[in-house]
């Protein structure tokens, strides 16, 4: 626990990162004005190519990536401020989300010089969108059991290359993305578990790739099935070391689990509800208490997220602490629609703003996914327990 206290010690966003905030707010004004709250409540599931291009034009994609690859060369603190503002406003960030958060840093860290120069600048311009191929029909949380396989292709045009066969599922926005970075088997057998897995880059327009959207319970389609049938990939499709995919995937997780996206998924709903309460201030003490309770948790979690950002800046990779934040954060995000639903119906005779109801309905339905994406609650609790010395 002492180590937790050190990880979560007081950490402040530096003034130059804070100074960045006003510029972002100004930029976001016109984009949010165009979108009603129930659309903005899509949070990081809201897809808008045009918006991502505009962010790229501002130089705000790949914010922490070095300038030589088209990035912003700024700190993780700057990125925290940017992401916080984007999510709080309910900006449609889904198009570039994965490429910006995970793919570009991954390529920077594990890619060859050639891969970096070829792939990262397009991400930073908002012209190349990525998805992540992890789950398979029989590999959900048990990721090490993936069966999709890329085998060396002796007949490849460059003398190397791979032939990929298999299937991915629950791949968010595969149907709108240009590339997938997938975890597949490149050597060994399924019994070898983590050994022999690699990360490979797949051009989703390549022959043999079929993407089929899966409709979700709200009638929208965010995730997909993706089929690979004798897909020929060039030698440089391999990212990092052959067989090292598991370690590479895990290194991404501290980034994926600790950011503001684990705190603000329900914030658009919370804020439109706060506006509703403000028009009736004092009329519903129970609602004011519930709002305060959610804000208290949100504030403490934000402080923890800033602290983790500080540790990332210092070059640490606090994977366990990131799991703690994600579990606490998604629980708070999921409690938000529950509390609002509990209180909004306290007077059946009261007319409630239809936009608030529509936003509530959306978040009530999709919020179970908050603790599935990026590692389920149950998997994270297992990780935390192991970190505590149980098991």
């Amino acid at each position: 626990m002492t180590s937790f206290a050190k990880t979560f010690r007081a950490t402040y966003l530096p003034a130059e990162a804070e100074a960045f905030r006003a510029e972002i707010k100004e930029f976001l004004k016109e984009w949010t004005a165009k979108r009603p709250p129930h659309r903005r409540a899509r949070s990081w599931q809201g897809f808008d190519r045009e918006f991502s291009l505009a962010l790229g034009a501002k130089g705000w994609l790949g914010l922490t990536i070095p300038k030589q690859y088209g990035g912003g060369d700024r700190s993780f603190f700057h990125r925290f401020v940017l992401v916080e503002e984007l999510l709080a406003a309910g900006a449609p960030v889904a198009a570039h989300w994965i490429a910006d958060r995970q793919s570009a840093p991954l390529l920077l860290h594990y890619g060859t010089q050639e891969q970096r120069e070829k792939l990262i600048p397009a991400i930073c311009r908002g012209e190349a969108f990525y998805c992540i191929g992890m789950s398979e029909p029989n590999s959900g949380s048990d990721l090490a059991s993936v069966r999709s396989r890329a085998v060396p292709d002796g007949d490849g045009p460059d003398g190397g290359g791979w032939v990929l066969n298999g299937q991915k599922i629950w791949t968010t926005y595969a149907h709108e993305s240009d590339y997938m970075i997938a975890l597949v088997r490149t050597s060994g057998e399924p019994d070898d578990r983590q050994k022999g897995l690699s990360q490979i880059l797949i051009d989703l327009k390549a022959p043999g790739v079929t993407v089929r959207p899966i409709e979700d319970l709200t009638g929208e389609a965010h995730f997909n099935e993706v089929f690979f049938e004798d897909v020929r990939l060039p030698a440089d499709a391999l990212i990092g070391q052959e067989g090292n995919g598991w370690a590479q995937v895990n290194a991404e997780l501290a980034f994926e689990r600790s950011g503001p996206e684990r705190i603000y998924s329900s914030i658009v709903l919370l804020d439109i509800w706060a506006d509703f309460l403000a028009r009736r201030a004092g009329a519903n003490p129970a609602a004011e208490v519930a709002l305060g309770r959610l804000l208290a948790r949100m504030a403490a979690l934000r402080e923890m997220s800033v602290a983790i950002t500080g540790r990332l800046v210092e070059g640490e990779s606090p994977v366990l602490e990131a799991a703690l934040i994600k579990e606490l954060g998604t629980t708070m995000e999921q409690d938000t629609p529950v509390e609002i639903a509990r209180l909004i119906g306290d007077d059946p005779d009261e007319v409630v703003d239809p936009e608030l109801l529509r936003t509530l309905a959306y978040v009530m339905q999709v919020s179970p996914a908050y603790s599935l994406r990026g590692g389920t609650r149950e998997i994270l609790r297992g990780m935390i327990a192991r970190g505590l010395g149980l098991r």
Partner: protein
């Protein structure tokens, strides 16, 4: 901000381990004296940590002493260590003397003159109280209550007949905030300790031929305890950050709301882990869970504090709750 050197912290926790072990706490609860414990704490010099250097103190800011107050909570230190630190600091700020060398606890009064807490401070934690009513502060002797409270603690009562030992005025200071912020830090410390005790027990205790810690349901309970311990520590730390020497009521509110939940969850899950033995008087877990539950309703409970946050949010003209949090709850960097 000055970060407390590990050597200082270790010497303080080492001292507490000696004077405030489970045996000592039980002796105090049975009616024994805290004089020796107070003497040891007083001699350590840490009680003057918040006092300006010119007044013979260490001149630390509140953020620096957070680990010390956490440590007091972790060991259920039965004397008003943090409260005395604050009382001495406030008196010095008013250019006054407390007039007592012993422990002084904090006693915020309502306009009607009643203690602003459903639970009175324990009689054993201090012989005197710094009493606030409006901007008027007095130091008054405490007397021992006649009847134990529902948690088994002997409550203190203000000796209203006695002349105050000191009297001064201060504006812009709310003793309820200070007493509450300390309560949050004590809760966070005790939560940490209960988590550690539970993990130790689960790794040792065997059922069905294996350690309880091997069972997934038990592991998940522990993970949830750890989450609450961590968020409680963070919230309580923020609650005790003072800009310009004063606490922020809203940050204290945040700390109290989060630590209320943590105390409830951690107590419940610890009991689940220890099972029947944890319910017994003989087993030391009860010392902690009784303290945690009592702190939950000391100086206002969750709903009192949370409502302040909710009201402030809807009274403000914030576009988003993120703006509200940044503006009203996030601590400022301390130089």
């Amino acid at each position: 901000m000055i970060e407390l050197d590990d050597i200082f912290l270790d010497s303080f926790t080492g001292l507490l381990d000696t004077v405030s072990d489970h045996g000592a706490i039980r002796a105090v609860e049975a009616g024994g004296s805290t004089a020796a414990i107070w003497e040891a704490v007083q001699e350590s010099g840490f009680v003057d940590a918040l006092l300006p250097e010119d007044d013979g103190g260490a001149g630390f800011d509140t953020a620096t002493v957070v680990p010390l107050v956490n440590a007091a909570g972790e060991r259920l230190l039965p004397v008003a260590f943090a409260q005395t630190m604050v009382a001495r600091m406030l008196a010095a700020r008013a250019g006054a003397e407390l007039g007592v060398d012993g422990a002084v606890t904090l006693w915020p009064l309502s306009e009607e003159g009643t203690l602003r807490s459903q639970v009175a401070p324990a009689a054993w934690e201090a012989g005197h109280a710094l009493v606030q009513q409006g901007h008027q502060f007095t130091v008054r002797p405490l007397v021992v209550g006649k009847q134990r409270d529902g948690f088994g603690y002997i409550p203190a009562e203000l000796d209203m007949g006695a002349e105050p030992l000191a009297s001064f005025t201060l504006d812009g200071v709310d003793l309820l905030d200070w007493a509450s912020a300390i309560t949050a830090l004590l809760i966070a410390g005790a939560c940490n300790k209960v988590l550690a005790m539970t993990i130790d027990y689960l790794n040792e205790r065997k059922q069905f031929g294996r350690a309880l810690s091997k069972f997934q349901a038990i592991q998940h309970n522990c993970a949830v305890m750890a989450e609450h311990a961590v968020i409680a520590a963070t919230a309580a730390r923020i609650g005790f950050t003072a800009d310009d020497g004063n606490l922020s009521t809203l940050r204290v509110a945040m700390a109290r709301s989060v630590t209320f939940d943590a105390a409830a969850q951690i107590s419940a899950l610890a009991h689940a882990g220890f099972a029947a033995i944890g319910i017994t008087e003989e087993y030391d877990l009860q010392l902690y869970v009784r303290a945690l539950k009592r702190w939950q309703i000391s100086f206002g409970s969750d709903s009192f504090w949370a409502r302040k946050l909710g009201q402030a949010r809807i009274a403000g003209t914030y576009d988003t709750s993120a703006d509200f949090i940044r503006d009203r709850l996030a601590p400022e960097p301390v130089a």
